[in-house]
C-alpha cells in the first residue's frame, strides 16, 4: 500500500471514528432524555394532578401489594379513609376554585402528618386514603388521632371551619383488601351518621371503636 493510500485510509477511518463518536454522544443524550421522559410519565400515571398525591390507580396497586406482604409476613396493614365534611357546601358557597385550594391544602396536611412509610393518595372527589403498612390497632388509631388533630389545628383561610370524618380499618390474615376497604367505608359512614368531625374504626369482629369523636356512641 502506498503512503498516499495509507493516508487516505487513515483519514477515512478517522472520519468514521468521529462520526461514530458523535452518534454515541447523541445516543447517550437521547437515552437520558428518554429516561427522564419515562420517569416523568411513570410519575404522571400514578399521581393525582390536582393534589400531587398518589391517584386511585396507584392506591389500588399498593393495596394489592400490602395484601400480599401481609399474607407473606403474617402482619397487618391499616387503612384510613378521610372525607371532608360538607365539601359540596364549600364548593357551592365559595366556588370550585376554592374547593380545589382546600383539597390541595388538606393534601399537604395529610402528607406532612404521615410517616414516610405510609402511602397517601386521593381516593376520589373529596376522599383521601392513607395506607399504613405493618401496623397494629393501637398505633393505627394514634395515626388517625394525630391526623384528626392536625387537621383541626390547621386554619383554612378560605373557610371558617373545615372538619373531616374518618373511617379506619385494619387487615386480618387471609382477608381481601376489598373487605378491608368495605369496613373502612362503613366506619366512615358511622362517623358521618354520628355527627361528622370524628373517626370511627370498624374492626374485624364488627365492634365500633370511637376515635376522637365528641358525641358518637361506641359499641
Amino acid at each position: 500500500m502506498s503512503n498516499h493510500d495509507k493516508e487516505l485510509l487513515l483519514r477515512r477511518l478517522e472520519r468514521e471514528q468521529l462520526a461514530r463518536q458523535e452518534t454515541e454522544d447523541i445516543l447517550d443524550r437521547v437515552t437520558l432524555k428518554l429516561y427522564h421522559a419515562n420517569h416523568s410519565l411513570s410519575q404522571m400515571a400514578v399521581t393525582d394532578r390536582l393534589t400531587q398525591l398518589y391517584n386511585r390507580h396507584k392506591l389500588d396497586e399498593v393495596l394489592i401489594q400490602q395484601q400480599h406482604l401481609a399474607e407473606r409476613y403474617k402482619n397487618n396493614f391499616g387503612i384510613i379513609i378521610i372525607d371532608i365534611d360538607f365539601f359540596k357546601k364549600i364548593n357551592d358557597a365559595h366556588g370550585h376554585q376554592t374547593g380545589d385550594v382546600i383539597l390541595k391544602e388538606l393534601s399537604n396536611i395529610l402528607k406532612n402528618s404521615s410517616r414516610k412509610s405510609d402511602v397517601v393518595g386521593r381516593w376520589g372527589g373529596e376522599e383521601f386514603m392513607i395506607i399504613i403498612p405493618n401496623v397494629s390497632e393501637q398505633p393505627l388509631f394514634i395515626v388517625a388521632e394525630k391526623l384528626q388533630r392536625d387537621i383541626k389545628k390547621h386554619k383554612f383561610p378560605q373557610v371558617d371551619i373545615l372538619t373531616v370524618s374518618m373511617g379506619v380499618s385494619i387487615s386480618h390474615p387471609g382477608e381481601s383488601f376489598e373487605n378491608i376497604i368495605s369496613r373502612a367505608d362503613e366506619a366512615l359512614y358511622q362517623a358521618k351518621e354520628n355527627g361528622r368531625n370524628c373517626s370511627y374504626a370498624l374492626l374485624h369482629n364488627k365492634s365500633f371503636n370511637l376515635i376522637g369523636a365528641k358525641n358518637a356512641p361506641s359499641s
Binding site: L8, R11, R12, E14, R15, E16, Q17, L18, A19, R20, E22, T23, I26, L27
Partner: protein
C-alpha cells in the same frame, strides 16, 4: 439538516467515483468532524451546499444535475434503510405501486417526521391523485431543492420499475412562506393507464 442526508450524498460520491474523490471534496472545506458526518447528527445546511457545489464538476458542472442524481440515489438508499429498520410494516413495505406510494408521502412527512424531529422544518407537499395513473405534487419549501425532489420522484419511478414520466414547473403563486428564498414547484407524475 439531518446527518443521514450528508452521509447519503457522500455515499453516492464514493460509490460512483471512489473514496479518493470524496476525500478530495471533504478536504476542500472545514467540515465538522473533518467530514465524519453522523447519521443521527444535525448539521448546517450550508455544509451540504458546499458539498454539492464542490461535487458539481463531477456532474457536467451542473448543480441541478447533482441534485437530481442525488435525489434518485437517495430514494433507493433511504428505502433500503427504511426496509432494514421496519422490515415488515409501514408505508414503504406495504406500498405496491408508484401512485399509491406517492399519494401517501404526506403521511410520512406530517405525522412520523414531525414526531421524530419536532424542531425541524419540513417541506410541504400538496398531493392530488388526478386519476389512477396521474398525480400532481405541489412542493413548497424554505429551502430551494426542487431538483432533489425531481430526482427523488425519478428514483420512485425506478424503484417501482414503472414507465411513468415526471415533469416539474415553477409555481410562485403557491408560495406562502414569508422567506424570500422560499420556492414552490409543481411536479406531475403520469403514465399510461
Amino acid at each position: 439538516m439531518r446527518g443521514i442526508i450528508f452521509r447519503t450524498y457522500l455515499s453516492l460520491l464514493t460509490n460512483r467515483f471512489g473514496y479518493e474523490v470524496t476525500d478530495s471534496i471533504l478536504l476542500k472545506r472545514d467540515y465538522p468532524n473533518k467530514g465524519g458526518f453522523s447519521s443521527a447528527g444535525n448539521y448546517d445546511v450550508l455544509y451540504l451546499e458546499w458539498l454539492i457545489s464542490d461535487g458539481a464538476y463531477l456532474f457536467d458542472n451542473s448543480k441541478d444535475k447533482v441534485w437530481i442524481d442525488f435525489g434518485e440515489y437517495a430514494l433507493v438508499h433511504l428505502i433500503k434503510a427504511a426496509k432494514r429498520a421496519h422490515a415488515s410494516e409501514g408505508l414503504i413495505a406495504n406500498a405496491v405501486n408508484l401512485y399509491d406510494f406517492l399519494e401517501n408521502i404526506n403521511i410520512i412527512h406530517h405525522e412520523e417526521l414531525n414526531k421524530l424531529y419536532p424542531d425541524a422544518k419540513f417541506p410541504s407537499f400538496d398531493i392530488q391523485r388526478v386519476n389512477p395513473r396521474r398525480i400532481t405534487i405541489g412542493y413548497s419549501s424554505d429551502h430551494h431543492y426542487p431538483y432533489f425532489v425531481y430526482g427523488l420522484l425519478r428514483g420512485c419511478i425506478e424503484h417501482f420499475n414503472d414507465s411513468s414520466t415526471v415533469t416539474m414547473k415553477r409555481m410562485d403563486a403557491l408560495i406562502s412562506s414569508p422567506d424570500k428564498h422560499a420556492s414552490a414547484y409543481q411536479f406531475e407524475v403520469f403514465g399510461d393507464e
